[in-house]
């Protein structure tokens, strides 16, 4: 995914001198973070698959103790939290972390049942505190997921505005990394999960045989705003013509969301963000979301089976033509 430049060469291109006494402590900090990540990678239970496995086990345990959330959550957090300080074994730590996480889920659920606002506030405080320390990526992801779910459940009447706000916050977090704020993972979660929620709601609507969701046009405004934020971040590097095309693109994105499908415009906005931050994860997610929303859009069209087949055929021809054009461009 890279052009082969070294870090030194990129810094030189951006007029950042590694001999500058102002830059030297920051560079040392970057090396320390890199070393810390290398130490964390030595844990055989680090990695995406084990993280998903841990989340699954914690969720299943949550459903087991859901009837007594406060007592079971407190006990799990206290026992597993205390034991984590005593043990050095990777396997035991993984086991204890899983049930500590389950305890956190149960306590969050208990707090949510008590007071939705308080729960969201507490989660926000914990997340806010966590984004200022470089390690603990897993903690940040879990806290941001919990915050997203709690806010969505608490604001069901204005769900689409919540989803839109999360998308915009996610875009800002991903496009504008700030000094001493480690919030890229949080931004990625806030970018991906609104689209996943939309897809899930679309799928439910299709399964129940109802027409598409109402009041989704607000979301297209937020997705267009994402493109505008991207434009703002690129403002110094665009000429007048590129600026004009970008504004036109944002307006088209909004109209696409209003008249065609909000999910399509959201996934296009995500793809643009993924391109400008060069993120392989966001790229794959955006393409997958786009294909799912396109399929949903065609299936929702009020046409006969024959014409649906025709639409898919035209789409396939369009994709092949685009691919042929891209190959010609690549050859140049």
């Amino acid at each position: 995914m890279t052009t082969g430049f070294s870090i030194k060469q990129v810094l030189a291109c951006l007029n950042v001198s590694v001999f500058d006494p102002v830059v030297e402590p920051a560079l040392k900090k970057a090396c320390q973070i890199e070393e810390q990540e290398a130490v964390e990678r030595k844990d055989p239970f680090s990695g995406f698959k084990f993280f998903i496995g841990m989340l699954s086990a914690a969720l299943v345990c949550f459903f087991g103790f859901k009837s007594v959330p406060f007592v079971s959550g407190t006990l799990l957090c206290l026992i597993c939290g205390a034991a984590l300080y005593k043990t050095d074994s990777y396997a035991v730590r993984f086991f204890l972390r899983t049930y500590f996480l389950s305890g956190v889920f149960l306590l969050t659920y208990a707090l949510f049942l008590f007071s939705e606002t308080l729960c969201v506030f507490v989660l926000f405080i914990f997340l806010f505190k966590n984004i200022f320390s470089p390690g603990n990526q897993g903690q940040r992801i879990v806290l941001s997921l919990l915050l997203f779910i709690c806010v969505c459940l608490a604001t069901q009447n204005v769900l689409f505005i919540s989803l839109g706000v999360f998308s915009v916050l996610g875009t800002i977090g991903v496009l504008c990394p700030v000094k001493n704020v480690y919030a890229w993972d949080v931004g990625a979660v806030f970018l991906i999960f609104p689209l996943l929620t939309l897809l899930f709601l679309d799928f439910l609507a299709m399964a129940q045989g109802t027409i598409v969701l109402q009041n989704t046009s607000w979301l297209s405004v937020f997705f267009a705003a994402e493109a505008v934020i991207l434009l703002f971040c690129l403002r110094r590097d665009l000429n007048a013509e590129e600026f004009f095309w970008f504004i036109l693109g944002s307006a088209t994105l909004m109209l696409c969301g209003v008249f065609l499908s909000v999910g399509l415009s959201g996934s296009i906005a995500l793809f643009l963000t993924a391109f400008f931050v060069d993120s392989p994860i966001l790229r794959k997610v955006s393409v997958l979301m786009f294909m799912c929303f396109l399929l949903m859009f065609i299936l929702f069209l009020p046409v006969s089976l024959f014409w649906a087949g025709g639409v898919f055929f035209l789409l396939a021809c369009g994709f092949m033509a685009l691919q042929y054009r891209l190959k010609q461009f690549e050859a140049k």
Binding site: L11, L14, A91
Partner: protein, 322 residues
């Protein structure tokens, strides 16, 4: 002027990735607002073009497939006419002559099946589905033998198992000739016999290997055992008769038949062991804690998931690794 130390020098000479740009911005090495410029320096446009090209190709193939599906469904009335048999025969002849192309090789195998099912659709013969699948299995052998593609060569094994499963579902079980456990054991024995026979034949003759053959045979054996366990627990509420049978068959298959270490096979067997143990836990939770059956099952299941994840990492299997 500050000279970077050894660690910093090593870090600086490393090839940059997009997460390094993030780290440099977050630590303050890069000023605010320079992240997109830095990313543009390390982004490979060629890689993006290749990704987009591959994605468009896959999307086009899926769209063509969906188009064919919807068009076929919309013109389904054509299938009920005798002209459809002539059409299918013409397609089959074309596939036979042009089977060097992968798409037509696969299409030919599917068209054979379509021609087997067609008389029932046109004339309403009401023939049992398992008989049609047995016939398809038999005819697919003649199509699979000259083919060089593994998926085509594996097709008869799949069709045979589908036919056996349908035979059990439509004939054996409703007529009470035998119960589900016995039927599944016999199906497992058949699959293992096929796998062992194939290994022996391959050693003694010059037949080319079929990729994933023994994996698929063992996979299907485990699937039948799992189906038998599920039927015993959910339908007949039986005891743990399957416990010993499952353990014996899985480990026998593992150690005795397949002495070479096969990572895919061992991971698949772990998945089946996990699923079978989940069934067993459900049985235990239901038998011992009638009022809190679901909650106890969830807690035990979470222990099982965590244990399997730890074992997956820690356990060294006693098989020879190449």
């Amino acid at each position: 002027m500050i000279v970077p130390d050894k660690n910093s020098a090593v870090y600086l000479n490393r090839q940059i990735q997009e997460k390094d740009v993030r780290c440099l911005c977050q630590t303050g090495v890069l000023p605010f607002g320079a992240s997109l410029r830095a990313v543009s320096l390390c982004r490979s446009e060629k890689e993006w073009l290749r990704f987009c090209s591959r994605t468009l190709f896959v999307s086009a193939c899926m769209a063509f497939g969906l188009s064919a599906f919807f068009l076929a469904i919309s013109q389904w009335h054509f299938v009920y006419t005798t002209y459809s048999s002539f059409f299918l025969f013409a397609v089959f002849v074309a596939c036979s002559f042009l089977r060097r192309f992968a798409a037509l090789d696969y299409a030919g195998a599917v068209v054979i099946g379509a021609m087997v099912f067609l008389p029932d659709l046109i004339f309403g013969t009401n023939v049992f589905l398992y008989k049609q699948f047995f016939l398809w299995f038999f005819l697919s052998i003649f199509w699979a033998v000259p083919s060089s593609r593994s998926l085509i060569r594996l097709l008869p094994l799949f069709l045979l198992n589908v036919a056996i499963a349908l035979y059990g579902w439509q004939f054996v079980l409703p007529s009470y000739k035998m119960n589900a456990d016995t039927f599944c054991i016999l199906a497992v024995v058949l699959n293992l016999l096929i796998a062992v026979s194939w290994e022996k034949i391959k050693q003694k003759t010059a037949l080319p290997d079929i990729a994933f053959f023994r994996f698929i045979a063992l996979f299907l054996s485990c699937a039948y055992l799992l189906a038998g366990v599920g039927a015993q627990i959910f339908l007949s509420n039986g005891a743990f008769a399957f416990l010993y049978c499952f353990i014996f068959t899985v480990f026998a298959g593992w150690f005795v038949l397949f002495k070479e270490y096969d990572r895919l096979l061992s991971q698949t067997l772990m998945v089946f062991c996990f699923l079978w143990l989940s069934f067993a836990l459900y049985h235990v939770a239901g038998a011992s804690f009638a009022s809190a059956e679901r909650e106890v099952f969830f807690v035990l299941e979470s222990f099982l998931i965590t244990t399997f994840l730890i074992l997956k990492n820690q356990l060294k299997f006693g098989l020879k690794e190449e």
